[in-house]
Symmetry: C2
Subunit: 303 residues, 2 copies
DNA sequence: TTCTTAATTCCAATAAATGGAATACTGATA
DNA sequence: TATCAGTATTCCATTTATTGGAATTAAGAA
């Protein structure tokens, strides 16, 4: 028996009992175990703890003193484990690190977690917006949100929503340059392009079954929202995530075009690192996020 | 791994290291063990303790806080075991319960342990004088002293000295009634008898190869020293333990008779309960006692 | 890209804990 | 006085846990 804490626990309990048998019953074990544990503790301390006959046990003077000294550490250690395991009041206490792309994070994650902040005020949300996927380990990330395929298999990922890509422009722009009817028509229209921060290359536009690299974009940025702003300004056609454009389409500020060529929607993943236990607060945020993303009201995927 | 203390110890050590491998080396174990222990602790707490990749480990925010909280209990528990194990200064601190017959205890044990009390002032000697052997368990006895055979085998006993039995009387009494030349002569002399407290019967005198029950003792007591006092008073012949009479013989206050029939000396045992560990102070007293009893100066066995 | 090193998992060997049966013993009772 | 009931302890076989080597996976450097 090498578990010092258990040894102490057994000793402390036994000290309150009239026999080893009682102690065994209270601890849900056998008298043999008690006998062995007390003996082991005695050997470790080099002192007798109980005078014992078959009819009675009596704590030693040393044992009584040791019991007094042991009580505090026992209690402290128990507190350490009990207290660290969150109880109702602070079940959700602690930090939850979230990483998300700027586009999703600023406009949607924030509103989504608002009820959560009210419901669990003990919970500190640390939302880091970054489009590059550098959050593998060092960054203290509990939950990640990404649009598109996840290459890393160390995550447990859940597809929470679908993100259609829509080619949009302002009604004015469409009136000026005409509405494209085929993808090939885009060649003659002003279009935007987005630069992949990692590779430095311009992302090709996606369509149903094929891709189309804008040959001569009129505006290029590495930031989706900046690109979107260019579209809103009426400068260019852009292929933009549905959740960004749908509110504007509904208000008539943007019009979608080439809808029959719309590509399969991109998956939106909510994921978390696979290893280690999942604290309740993290699970709570994770569940809240996935539920909220599935809510068409909060996260529109259709016009 | 159920040893919470070890878990904490591993965690605390690892928190100071740059890798699990380092921690394993410091703790004299393998990286597997570290990995498993940290994982186990994480599972018990429901929280991640280290962010870790193959190249670096980084303690979690929760881990850092937990480390702070854990430090005190770890230290306390270590103190409990370290401190309770006596260190130089108070190696001999604590109580030593000794039981001895009145005759031996009052006159000889006290002087024998005198140097010990000076040498180990931390040590509390609790000397209980009782002739009956009732000190089996409840009485907090660490060391016992008995003259004669020990029936109980639960003791580890050491024969520390021999106690010859001598038939003595005052020179005056011998002059008055004549010196006995044969054991049978005792029938016509005044003799003492000692009552066994347990059985209530009078002990027979012992001689070399036979015993002799005093047929008509002139004085009887259940206390050896009272009996001895009667002899000193010149009332009777008595068969008395050598260590009591020798000083008086040397001063000429008593004379031994019938020496050629002297029985084999009784063994004097120093013993201690077999079970449980032997604290240094008990061993110290035990050794001091056995050594002292073997010292002819302190415990005379020959005239 | 490949190479090196670390964390982790798997698995078989080793070590430890467990509880039933037997033993030894105490205190009480007939 | 002898027997009985109840307890601590030891022994031993079974079960359980721990350990470290080998293989796997991954991250950072060259």
């Amino acid at each position: 028996m090498h578990d010092r804490f258990r040894l102490l626990k057994i000793f402390a309990t036994t000290a309150q009992c009239t026999s080893f048998r009682d102690a065994a019953f209270q601890l849900g074990t056998s008298p043999q175990t008690i006998s062995r544990a007390v003996k082991e503790l005695e050997d470790q301390l080099g002192e007798l703890l109980f005078h014992r006959s078959t009819r009675q046990i009596q704590i030693t003077q040393f044992g009584a003193r040791f019991l007094q000294e042991a009580n505090s550490p026992i209690a402290e250690l128990e507190m350490l484990f009990e207290h660290s395991r969150p109880s109702r009041a602070e079940l959700y206490a602690g930090r939850v690190g979230i990483t998300a792309p700027h586009s999703v994070g600023r406009s949607h994650v924030l509103p989504l977690i608002e009820p959560l902040i009210r419901e669990a005020p003990e919970c500190l949300i640390d939302l880091r917006l970054e489009d590059e996927v550098t959050d593998t380990v060092g960054a203290q990330i509990d939950i990640g949100i990404r649009v598109g395929a996840l290459r890393d298999n160390r995550f447990v990922a859940r597809q929470a929503a679908q993100v259609p890509l829509m080619v949009v422009a302002t009604p004015e722009l469409v009136r000026q340059v005409g509405e494209p009817r085929l993808v090939a028509d885009l060649i003659r229209k002003p279009v935007s392009g987005r630069v992949d921060r990692n590779s430095g290359r311009i992302w090709p536009w996606r369509f149903n079954g094929f891709t189309h690299a804008p040959p001569s974009p009129r505006f290029v940025s590495d930031d989706p929202e900046t690109e979107f702003q260019a579209v809103l300004n009426g400068w260019v056609f852009g292929q933009i995530a549905a959740f960004l454009v749908i509110p504007y389409i509904r208000e008539g500020l943007l019009v979608p075009v080439l809808r029959q060529f719309e590509p399969p929607p991109l998956p939106l993943y909510v994921y978390r690192p696979q290893r280690g236990p999942v604290p309740p607060r993290v699970r709570k945020v994770f569940d809240t996020l996935t539920e909220s993303f599935a809510d068409e009201e909060r996260f529109p995927t259709r016009v």
